[in-house]
């Protein structure tokens, strides 16, 4: 097979073509590009073209990818009540426009502060928002997502308690988060003990108290995966001697719920996606971590700090880097390098635009609308709301029929009605989780009630 001649081929993303290549080869002093690859042994050279499609024009690219997107059935053409760690809140239009500014989009990690103040100052602001929202002291520049942020929190806590190996994680923490923790710690000699919930859907405090002896940390999620808001003070009282980790998977809840930092929690980690980031099939999202001041030198990930330049001007710089892998290598507090900077920037913009009043209003509207739906559903024959604890914008619904069948019925009504719990917990075949945000209209909520009622009647027949 003859391979294309690099002297005559060209591509729109690769400027240098025949004339440039000839001139450059002359300067380098070789007669062909192939000679530059002489150090790669022939035995491992491919010597054929990759068997992959392309090259496509933008026209062909659009056609194919849009065709794929059209095969999805999503919130675009359905009323979606899906949450479970990924929530559709409204992202104001200017955010995406600003994110597309090349100076943000196409910059690297701000290693050289003189030419990266835009990114650095934005991270400093993002860190500040996290502190104000969670009531804790020090936030990092971002982690991959909520699940890996919980892993990092567990590992941080473990470093603070050298002689203990047990961590308690509430069973009502997002199942994917718990699975990810088990993956991360599998070779580190850490034992995970899961603590169940009571009838109201909150952490079983007696079980927690009994298990807390000898544990280095306890991690709870609020609102938890069942949608129920936990009582931080009660959890704190039942877990003396441990590092308390609060997980927030629905970040807009911090607009109305009391912050974990105000209740003696040491670490708050979570998922910032709800701050207007599209659900985009699960990523990219943005994990956050905020800790008490005493833990700051044990933090994973990047931190931006304020300082001055040689002329005395206020400026920002990556700091406390001796915690990190590029300095500390095998002894680093984490292996993280690339994080989710652009998504953190989007979150910073969202939090700034919404601000003090808007964050509260988004939370209130989400809660009011969820409450409306919940109240209406409680009047539907056959609907049961199995957990009595207070909720924010998400709750479990039970009918006498398998959730998969009910949800299939709702899908016929152009409703993505919820997330079945059967895949996550034993004995919950009839339960599913529904979430409401400020984007839902009363009409959609009423339609949901009517459609669910009709689905139950249909199943009865």
């Amino acid at each position: 097979m003859t391979l294309p001649d690099p002297l005559t081929s060209h591509h729109r993303y690769i400027p240098n073509a025949s004339q440039d290549v000839r001139e450059m080869l002359d300067v380098v002093g070789v007669d062909s590009i192939d000679r530059l690859f002489d150090t790669i042994p022939d035995a491992v050279k491919l010597n054929r073209l990759l068997e992959v499609p392309g090259p496509w024009s933008e026209i062909e690219t659009r056609r194919w990818f849009r065709g794929l997107a059209a095969k999805n059935r999503t919130a675009v053409d359905h009323a979606s009540f899906l949450g479970g760690g990924a929530y559709a809140h409204y992202q104001p239009a200017c955010i995406d426009q600003l994110l597309l500014r090349a100076e943000f989009l196409t910059a690297y990690t701000p290693y050289q502060p003189e030419v990266s103040q835009g990114t650095l100052q934005s991270i400093f602001e993002y860190q500040t928002h996290q502190c104000l929202l969670t009531g804790l002291d020090v936030a990092n520049a971002s982690l991959y997502d909520g699940s890996t942020a919980l892993c990092e929190a567990v590992l941080l806590a473990e470093r603070m308690h050298k002689n203990k190996t047990k961590v308690l994680i509430a069973k009502s923490v997002h199942p994917h988060y718990r699975e990810t923790v088990r993956t991360y710690i599998q070779n580190l000699g850490i034992e995970v003990v899961e603590v169940g919930w009571s009838d109201d859907g909150r952490v079983d405090l007696d079980a927690l108290r009994a298990a807390a002896e000898g544990a280095f940390a306890v991690a709870v999620q609020s609102p938890n995966f069942l949608g129920v808001v936990e009582d931080y003070d009660a959890i704190r009282a039942a877990s003396e001697g441990t590092t308390r980790i609060a997980v927030v998977a629905e970040a807009t809840s911090l607009g109305i719920l009391t912050p974990p930092g105000a209740h003696g929690f040491d670490i708050c980690v979570g998922e910032g996606q709800a701050w207007g980031i599209p659900t985009q099939f699960g990523g990219p999202f943005v994990g956050f971590m905020v800790v008490r001041d005493a833990l700051k030198r044990h933090m994973p990930g990047r931190l931006v700090g304020e300082t001055v330049d040689v002329d005395g001007r206020r400026a920002y710089v990556l700091t406390l880097a001796t915690r990190e892998q590029h300095i500390r290598r095998g002894k680093a507090t984490s292996n993280i390098c690339t994080n989710e900077a652009l998504i953190a920037l989007a979150a910073n913009m969202y939090l700034s635009l919404l601000g003090k009043e808007g964050l509260r209003e988004v939370a209130l509207q989400s809660m009011q609308k969820a409450n409306y739906l919940r109240t209406k559903l409680s009047e539907v024959r056959g609907v049961e709301l199995p957990f009595s604890g207070p909720v924010y914008n998400e709750f479990v619904i039970r009918t006498p029929f398998p959730a998969s069948e009910i949800l299939a019925d709702l899908e016929h009504e152009k409703i993505l009605g919820g997330i079945p719990l059967a895949g996550f917990f034993e004995g919950r075949a009839n339960d599913f989780l529904a979430a409401v945000t400020e984007l839902h209209t009363r009409e959609q909520l009423d339609h949901y009630v009517a459609a669910l009622s009709a689905a139950i009647s249909r199943e009865r027949r």
Binding site: S9, Y13, N16, L25, F37, I40, K45, L46, V52, G54, L68, A69, N72, R73, V76, A86, T106, A107, T109, E114, S116, Q117, Q121, F124, E125, Q127, T128, A139, A141, Y144, S147, H176, T180, N187, L188, T279, F281, G283, P284, K296, E306, V310, R313, H326, I327, R328, G330, C337, T338, N339, A341, L342, N348, S352, L353, G355, K356, L359, E438, T441
Partner: protein, 491 residues
């Protein structure tokens, strides 16, 4: 860059705040309002988010536009950070990622509702399998370091399954810092492998180091000097003969994509930073994606779920992997980064993917040829996609790598990676990528040559650089000694 300079740095968004300003509007609440106490007890609520901002949309747009102008970016010009592969980010990728059917799909939808997404992921895996020359690829890892951890966890599980997970991971002294950090997180101790005078792995050193306790070697190909490990097959043979694995850090895949394949080199596991070789934007530090390719021996241990195709052409998430290391992250990885990467792969096609490596290597060698009389080349072995100089020629005038890097900013260029790899004293690691036209390379080389001359003739000018940036030479020691990590309201 001189227009950037100003007497003051911009206020923080919090310093723009004024009571009563609003940057948003929601529709009026259209359901009957319930009393708060009836929904949630007062003890679980907050009255306000103290000190959060009140700003208008205009304030926000001006603020972030002004901040953006303080950054340099690849769209503005050459950004030659070695090892980081700062290449052009095509905007069609951004448009495709924003297709509503992708952007608003939910990660917990049942398979039948997201066939388009699953088909896309399946195609991306097929394409990466062909690029890697390996039988399976996990798309779950969301960054290079996340891929490394995934890979070493798989190695651990595979070895544990055969009776002994072993104790050590070998890592050359030229490696990225993430390699030892990831290996430690996977439960291993690190043994550093000294490189030879070419900067590569010496077979006899390796042979002596691979004891029965060694689980794997983590190696970067080409290494951080840009030098290809020509004896890669022998390296693999030595490890395999002792039952150990070969992990390849694929951060430098841009140097050989389409030219050679890790699977043909005897590599057992490789991650690729899609934000490097496959052009997804770096965004000031992420998001990325770090898919991991594996050899047959590691397939059973891949993270679950995987994406599979049924005979009828439909797709599904497959959780039935009993020996899987588990889940590396919630949901399905950084899906919308993966969308961008596949868009890029399709735009490039077979010849385009190969041309990436060809022109990236030509561009780097062109810089090497033009600068080697001005800057010291500590390792003169032929290099591929990047070239590493040192400040040895300049230190006599008491000018160092940091000074040269800062002075480059005055010429309008982002500096190269500096003081890395650690095996080079005062390293200047330059990676131009294939995106740079010859004129840009020439302008960069002329700037570097001019700086070399300045180091001789006006060293003070270089030592005090930069002179034209918005801020200059930050007090990093103060930042670390008295950390101020958030804005504090005036007391």
């Amino acid at each position: 860059m001189s227009e950037m300079k100003s007497a003051h740095t911009p206020p923080l968004i919090f310093e723009h705040s004024k009571t009563g300003r609003r940057g948003y509007k929601l529709p009026a609440l259209d359901v009957p309002e319930e009393a708060l106490d009836a929904m949630i007890p007062a003890a679980l609520r907050r009255e306000e988010i103290a000190n959060e901002v009140e700003v208008s949309e205009v304030d926000v747009i001006r603020h972030f536009t002004r901040l953006s102008k303080l950054n340099v970016s690849i769209d503005a010009g050459l950004y030659p950070l070695g090892s980081c592969t700062m290449k052009h980010n095509p905007r069609i990728n951004e448009e495709i990622a924003r297709t509503p059917g992708f952007a608003h799909s939910h990660p917990l939808q049942p398979d039948h509702q997201v066939q388009g997404n699953l088909e896309l992921l399946w195609h991306l895996e097929q394409t990466l399998k062909e690029i890697f020359g390996m039988p399976r690829v996990s798309l779950q890892p969301v960054a290079g370091a996340h891929g490394e951890l995934t890979g070493i966890l798989m190695v651990h599980k595979a070895l544990a399954k055969s009776g002994n997970p072993r104790k050590y991971i070998l890592i050359p002294d030229s490696a990225h810092g993430t390699n030892p950090a990831s290996a430690a997180f996977a439960g291993y101790e690190i043994r550093e492998l000294k490189s030879n005078s070419r900067g590569t792995v010496e077979l006899s050193t390796l042979e002596a180091a691979v004891t029965e306790d060694v689980a794997a070697l983590m190696i970067t190909v080409p290494n951080t000097l840009g030098v290809f490990e020509s004896e890669i097959r022998s390296i693999a043979d030595i490890l395999h003969a002792k039952g150990a694995y070969l992990y390849c850090d694929g951060a430098n895949l841009n140097a050989f994509v389409g030219i050679a394949r890790p699977g043909d080199m005897g590599v057992d596991c490789i991650h690729s930073n899609l934000h490097k070789t496959f052009s997804t934007p770096h965004g000031g530090g992420g998001p990325g994606a770090g898919p991991v390719g594996v050899s047959e021996r590691l397939v059973p241990y891949l993270p679950a779920p995987t994406v599979e195709r049924r005979e009828d052409g439909s797709f599904y998430l497959d959780y039935s992997h009993p020996d899987s290391i588990g889940r590396m992250r919630a949901f399905n990885g950084n899906f919308n980064v993966l969308v961008r990467a596949l868009t890029y792969m399709r735009s490039m096609g077979p010849d385009g993917l190969r041309r990436i490596a060809q022109l990236a290597v030509l561009n780097a060698n062109y810089i090497r040829a033009r600068l080697k009389s001005s800057y010291h080349l500590p390792y003169d072995a032929p290099s591929l996609h990047e070239v590493v100089f040192s400040d040895k020629n300049q230190t006599a005038k008491d000018v160092h790598t940091l000074d040269i890097a800062k002075r480059l900013m005055d010429y309008g260029f982002h500096p190269p990676t500096i003081y890395f790899p650690l095996i080079v004293s005062g390293a200047l690691m330059i990676e131009p990528t294939e995106s740079e036209p010859k004129e840009e390379l020439d302008a960069f080389c002329e700037a570097m040559i001019a700086i070399a001359r300045e180091c001789d003739e006006r060293p003070e000018l270089v030592r005090t650089a930069p002179h034209s940036t918005p801020v200059r030479r930050l007090d990093e020691a103060r930042a670390a000694r008295q950390p101020v990590l958030r804005w504090n309201p005036a007391i």
